[in-house]
């Protein structure tokens, strides 16, 4: 077995990846064609993929640091791949800088908190809840919390990488480089762990500005982690098919498969935790998040669970599926796409609502904002028609309507539906309005056709690019993936594939899980 291997970035692969990037750029531009006034589809596509691939680079660094800190020896044969992936954070800084510039220049309306005048009590768009969060959700903090933190992480990733490369060149019996590597790795863990929560709150959770979840940072980081792990496994299998990494045995793949399996279950645990806490607490401002997604994005909502839990759980449960390149590759690709879709699900519905409401603000002025609130009300579901399981979530939706109305308790509300023309309600108080309108809704129970019309008008029904990924979204995914891989292969090319002077090299080469499967050839006899 030749251990002194060097990856060669062939021109054919280079060309294919450049074609992929061009497809991505074209699709990104295409998604701006026929877009709304804020170019929401364009910006969400950009943000979605920029965050996803930057996050993958971050989790590669985090995972590698965790392994090094835990004295893990098994992964030395694939260490260089993680190092190469983590370097993508440099590109991530540039990618997210565009989002940051967009925030400062108001080029997009991804973040409701970034609306001018939103914290000014005299403004017509003043929002008390957002004003209360302005200490955290403001452009300065956003800049620090995204590109600033990313720059810190990249510095660590760069140092770890440089140290690893220097180790290749110098023979040191005193383990100098190894000790230094451990220092960089161990100090990255708290940095990555604590800062990543802020990073994801700023970039993704703040899209649904009114909403918050204590589980969100966990949940989205693990999602990134799984996306990265799946891509990592797929890349190993790809490189093996090209004749590289022949020393990576099915024992290493088995362990990576176990990570993919186990952490998929952990992801489900966090997904369910977030849902369960909100469902059980039944506070309107929290439940609206799931209410919106279960009603208007059912394919995304349930598909997310199927792709990211059911598939890896049942495909990777058996020992032998984790040890066969075919099944592992299949599961890895599905999980990678599944977590890309998970981020799609986190970003798109929230950004769409923010854009719709902002447009109604600008079109109808003050009255418009109320109109949108009324539409929320008209969409309040008929609890009796829901599956009983979901009734807890839906009951809260009626309560949700209070936001905004609170500010103008004397405003008239034209009720939509059958009695829209002749019924004008004076809103007495917040609680009363709730009961009142809900009663109204129940009263016109037979009037559902009229409500459906409103669905279309508000633009919350099916729309390609939001409800499901359209051609443009897939194209942008291909583009960003190509960019990621291009950078990854460039980094891989610059160093030997195997860190020959790593103290754990021999352990890694002889790694075994101790599992024996009938009919497998070769077994564990490396000797």
């Amino acid at each position: 077995m030749n251990l002194n291997t060097q990856f060669v970035f062939e021109s054919k692969l280079k060309r294919n990846l450049i074609i992929g990037m061009v497809i991505g750029a074209v699709c990104l531009a295409w998604s701006a064609v026929g877009d709304d006034a804020f170019y929401t589809r364009f910006w969400t596509n950009y943000l979605h993929n920029a965050v996803f691939f930057t996050g993958i680079a971050f989790t590669a660094m985090f995972f590698l640091s965790g392994q090094i800190t835990a004295f893990a020896g098994w992964m030395v044969v694939i260490k260089r791949l993680w190092e190469a992936m983590s370097q993508f954070m440099l590109v991530g800084i540039v990618l997210l800088l565009v989002v940051v510039i967009g925030v400062w220049g108001h080029l997009h309306h991804l973040y409701h908190w970034n609306t001018p005048g939103i914290t000014d009590p005299s403004s017509s768009v003043y929002d008390e809840i957002i004003a209360g969060k302005a200490g955290f959700l403001n452009p300065v903090f956003f800049t620090i919390g995204t590109v600033g933190f990313l720059a810190i992480w990249y510095f660590w990733a760069y140092k770890l990488r440089q140290n690893s490369l220097a180790q290749d060149e110098h023979e040191t019996p005193s383990f100098d480089y190894y000790k230094r590597e451990r220092k960089w790795a161990a100090s990255f863990l708290p940095l990555g762990g604590f800062l990543s929560t802020v990073f994801l709150w700023q970039l993704i959770m703040s899209i649904d500005t009114h909403w918050y979840s204590t589980m969100f940072a966990w949940y989205s980081t693990i999602s990134l982690f799984l996306g990265g792990l799946a891509l990592f496994i797929a890349l190993i299998l790809y490189l093996q098919s090209k004749g590289y990494l022949e020393y990576v045995t099915r024992e290493h793949l088995h362990d990576l498969g176990k990570y993919l399996f186990g952490i998929s279950i952990f992801w489900t645990y966090l997904w369910f935790d977030q849902f369960m806490l909100i469902w059980y607490g039944n506070i309107g401002e929290e439940t609206i998040y799931f209410k919106e997604r279960m009603d208007n994005y059912p394919v995304l909502f349930w598909g997310n669970l199927v792709l990211n839990f059911v598939v890896p759980f049942f495909v990777l449960m058996r020992n032998d599926t984790k040890r066969k390149a075919g099944t592992l590759f299949f599961a890895a690709l599905l999980v990678f796409f599944g977590h890309w879709l998970d981020f799609f699900y986190m970003i798109k519905p929230g950004a769409r609502i923010a854009a719709i409401e902002a447009m109604e603000h600008s079109e109808g002025g003050h009255h418009g904002s109320l109109k949108s609130d009324i539409k929320d009300l008209s969409q309040a579901p008929d609890v009796s028609k829901m599956p009983r399981v979901l009734a807890g979530v839906s009951a809260a939706a009626a309560e949700q309507s209070h936001q905004g109305n609170e500010q103008q308790p004397t405003e008239k509300i034209p009720v939509t539906g059958q009695g829209a023309q002749d019924t004008d309600h004076q809103e007495p108080a917040h609680g009363g309005a709730q009961a009142d309108t809900h009663g109204e809704h129940a009263h016109h129970a037979g009037d559902h056709d009229g409500h459906d019309g409103h669905h279309e008008e508000t633009g919350r029904g099916f729309q390609l690019g939001y409800t499901l990924p359209g051609f443009q979204e897939i194209g942008v995914l291909i583009g960003f993936l190509s960019l990621f891989l291009f950078f990854f292969f460039r980094q891989l090319e610059r160093a030997p594939l195997l860190p020959l002077r790593d103290p754990f090299l021999e352990e890694s080469l002889h790694h075994t899980t101790g599992v024996y499967i009938d009919g497998e050839e070769g077994g564990h006899d490396h000797h």
């Binding site: 009983r388 807890g392 075994t512």
Partner: protein, 176 residues
């Protein structure tokens, strides 16, 4: 496993690599090994011994699925059908509330089921008397044992010759 006592001829090796090569030799010579004892799991011994993959995990899945179904259906029956209770303003059949307990029942059934199955297969239950060949096989010796209860003297000497040839440190006979 059987209640009757057995006459066992066993050899002790100092090293797991010696043991592995000895097992290979025995398998090539079609010697019928009763069992092999090691102080720790020796990776790669199973295929050399010709053991097939354990099927315990298949049972584990069955037990787990049983636990999940049992937990979920029992809670649904008790709380939604037999004695409907409204709590926390939730529906009568609050599925999300059931999921943690369903999960726990899955784990409980799988763990207990597999443990009990494993102990039963290995002939271990409360009060059973341990049949120990040599105390040192849980310390630093690696042992190959042959059942010589009803075996011709010719075969016994072939076992002894085998131990000598493969470098066993000690050879003993014991009735357990």
């Amino acid at each position: 496993m059987s209640a009757e006592s057995k006459k066992v001829l066993y050899g002790l090796y100092n090293d797991e690599e010696e043991l592995k090569s000895a097992v290979k030799t025995a398998r090539q010579g079609h010697l019928d090994i009763m069992d092999v004892y090691t102080p720790f799991p020796v990776h790669g011994l199973d295929p050399i011994l010709g053991l097939s993959e354990s099927r315990l995990h298949i049972l584990g899945f069955v037990y787990g699925a049983t636990g999940a179904l049992f937990g979920f259906l029992f809670m649904s029956w008790a709380l939604a059908k037999d004695w409907p209770i409204l709590f926390g303003g939730k529906p009568y059949w609050p599925v999300p509330s059931f999921i943690p307990i369903t999960f726990e029942m899955t784990v409980l059934f799988a763990a207990w089921g597999m443990t009990i199955t494993f102990y039963t297969i290995c002939g271990m239950w409360p009060g059973v008397k341990a049949k120990i060949l040599d105390n040192r096989i849980s310390d630093d010796k690696f042992c190959i044992a042959f059942d010589v209860t009803e075996v011709e003297q010719r075969v016994v000497s072939s076992f002894k010759e085998f131990f000598q040839r493969t470098g066993a440190a000690e050879v003993h006979e014991k009735t357990i």
